[in-house]
Structures are given as structure tokens and as C-alpha cells.
Homo-oligomer: 199 residues x 2
DNA sequence: TTATTTTTGTACCATCTTGCATAAAATAAT
DNA sequence: ATTATTTTATGCAAGATGGTACAAAAATAA
């Protein structure tokens, strides 16, 4: 009966917890333990609510996971998109974007990207997640492409450059998750950007 | 009492199944469902053996997973290393290597790389796996570096190029897993190699 | 043959897991 | 105050899960 996206609750007992704070706690746990490795009891504990509230507010486990994915995507966009389209110089914009990205990936001991570190292993068992993953994938590539075109880059070359920038983002995520230091990632990022723009 | 790596069994009842075939079946299942998403019952069924034989031969679930990772790494090395160091021309070697890599990644509906698609989500809960992942990571980068140096590439630039080649491998794995077509991956691979060598 | 070693089949156990049911609590509308 | 509506608390149930125990089976060594 619940949509899980409702905000205003006309009447009835008011919710005793903050919806977004709870989702953030769930996100952190999913990001640390993966989807299959996290139980609803774990989640409810981390969120500071009871299982009944969890199911009532977010639906089942898969729906909760999708909500955390959506929240992550939204928050990342808020923190990063402006950096990419802010600066006048393309190289400067890219360095700004990836520096901020690396800082996020290295939080909490190097979690990497929520999508690329936790989604791939469950893509085959949960079909709807494949679409979620692919949608994010194409959105990121389109974003890079738009910024390159804004800088005057042409069709074919711009498309390849956009793909390489996403490749950089992928490898940064995996390396952060593997424990590579923030300094090493920054160095790699700078060198990669220079190479990609050198064409 | 078992090491799990023993080959010769002096006396006693001989094993009724092929150890490597069983490991391959386990690998396929782990690759499809992830580590946490696969139960020992699932594995025993796929391997065609009983739970008792599984535990007796490979130890517990984590040990079995590590055995499949080792087998994957070994087999990939056998199929790919020669391609990288075979050809005389660097660009040719790289295209040969990545073409074969993509063909493997796209098998069975696009599984991608066993390491990069199933390991990241469990790195935080199983510490020993972090070392396994990092070891593979550095081994691959060293392999690319060695091939570049063999072609006469110099220190700093060769190191960056090796990192970018590993980045290419990462993004190919994730894209294959996301469902990107083999043709699209090949196109990306060729363009990326050209860019990386253009420096 | 007899003893020893290893694998195999079956069963069991303690725990975890998910979803659901039911009642109590809190608030708005009537 | 009463009713309707929503959240919260508690518990239950059916099944899954990982690990282990034990006897039977199979093969070799003495």
C-alpha cells in the first residue's frame, strides 16, 4: 500500500525518525557489507528503528536498497555536477571534479563508489538492478560528453574521451576500495586527465 | 586437518569427482550470484557433490571461494599472458590481449571479471580477501609495466600507461557486467589503446 | 585377511533470515 | 469524546544457512 516516497502524512501517528537519516545509515551499511551480506536486522539496528518501521516505510529489502541507491546518486550529483560545469577551463573542471570524487571515495577507509562496488555482484540475481546500474552508467557518460562538447570537442573524439573519463572513475572506485591511498589516486587522476585531453 | 591443496592421496577411498571440474562449477556460481548470495547447498548442487565432500575437500565457504579465485587467476594468466608478450609490436600485443579479455568477459551473458565483480562488496567483511584483491591488482599492473618497458617505454610515463591499461581492464569488466555488447567493448578497447600509446 | 585411511551419505543442530500478524501508541478529523 | 489513520513494538512461523557428527563404503597397506 505504501509508495515509500510519500512525505506528508496527513494524520495518524507521526514518524519518530528522520527518513533521510535512516536511509543514509542503511546506505553506509550496504556499502560496507554489500546487498546480500546485510540482513534486515543489521539494517534496522544501524538505522535505529524497528523492523516493522523499516518494512512499513521502505517496503522490502530490495526496495530499501533501491532507495539508498537513488539517494546516493542524487547526493553525488549535487556534490559533483557543479564542479564539472563550473570552471571555465576544461582541464580545471575535470581536476576539480575528480579531486572531489576521490575525496568521497576515500571516506570511511576507502569505500569507493556505492554503485560499482556493491551492484555488480547482484546484477544477475536482481534484474531491475541491472537497469538501475546501466542508467547511472549512461547518465555519467552523457554528463562527461556534455562537458566535453561544451568545451568544443567534436563527435567521435569527444565520445571516446567521455568513455575514458568514465573508465577513470571506475578504476578510481575499485582502487579506493582496494585500499589505495588518496594521494596515489590523485596522482593517477591528474596524469590520466592530462593524457585524455592530450589527444 | 585438510589443507585443501593436497593432490596425491596415498591410500584410502579415492575421490569420486574431479577436483578442478568441481571448482569450475563453484566459480561459475560465485560469479553469477556473488559470495554472500551463494549458499553451500547451491554450490554442492552445482558441483554435483554432497556437502560433506565439499567441506572435506575444500574446507569452509570462504576457503572454497579463495580456491575459485586462485583457479580463475591461474587460468586467466594462462590464456592471456602469452598474448601480451607474444607479438613484436606493442599495439598489436595490447589489442590481442584485450580482444581475448573481452571475449572472456562477455561469456555467459557478460559476466565480466570474477575479481572485480564479486570481490569489492565483501572486501570489508573478509579481510583476507582484501589482500587477495590487492595482490591481483598489483600483479596485473606489473605485467603491463613489464610489457611497456620491454617496448622501450620510460619510467614515469610507462607507469602511468600501465595504470591506464588496468583502468581499461576495469571499465571493460564493469561494462561487460552491465550488459554492454562485445562489439562496443572492442571499439572502446581499440580507441583507448590508441590514446594510451599516443602519449 | 586384517587394519588403516579417506571419502561419502545422511542427518542434525543452532542460528539467522524474511515476511507477516497482532496489538499498542500517537495524532488528525469529526 | 469518538473514530479513523498511521506508526511503533513485539512476537511468530516457515524456511534457509553454515557447520558438524557419525556410520557406512571403498580402497590401500601390512
Amino acid at each position: 500500500m505504501q509508495d515509500g516516497t510519500k512525505i506528508k502524512s496527513g494524520r495518524g501517528r507521526p514518524r519518530a525518525f528522520d527518513r533521510e537519516q535512516a536511509l543514509l545509515a542503511a546506505m553506509r551499511l550496504f556499502q560496507t557489507q554489500g546487498y546480500s551480506g546485510t540482513s534486515l536486522d543489521d539494517l534496522a539496528n544501524a538505522m535505529g528503528i524497528k523492523r516493522s518501521s523499516l518494512n512499513n516505510t521502505f517496503g522490502n529489502k530490495l526496495a530499501l536498497y533501491q532507495h539508498t541507491l537513488a539517494l546516493y546518486e542524487q547526493r553525488m550529483g549535487e556534490q559533483l555536477t557543479q564542479r564539472l560545469f563550473g570552471g571555465a577551463e576544461l582541464a580545471e573542471s575535470l581536476n576539480d571534479y575528480f579531486s572531489a570524487l576521490i575525496a568521497i571515495y576515500c571516506q570511511e577507509g576507502g569505500q569507493g563508489c556505492f554503485f560499482t562496488t556493491t551492484l555488480p555482484c547482484v546484477l544477475r540475481t536482481e534484474q531491475t538492478l541491472q537497469e538501475t546500474f546501466m542508467a547511472n552508467h549512461t547518465a555519467l557518460e552523457s554528463m562527461f560528453l556534455a562537458r566535453l562538447q561544451q568545451a568544443g570537442h567534436q563527435d567521435e573524439q569527444a565520445e571516446i574521451s567521455a568513455q575514458l573519463l568514465l573508465a577513470l572513475q571506475h578504476t578510481l572506485s575499485l582502487r579506493a576500495r582496494a585500499g589505495v591511498s588518496q594521494a596515489a589516486l590523485l596522482k593517477l587522476s591528474c596524469a590520466a586527465i592530462a593524457r585524455i585531453l592530450a589527444a
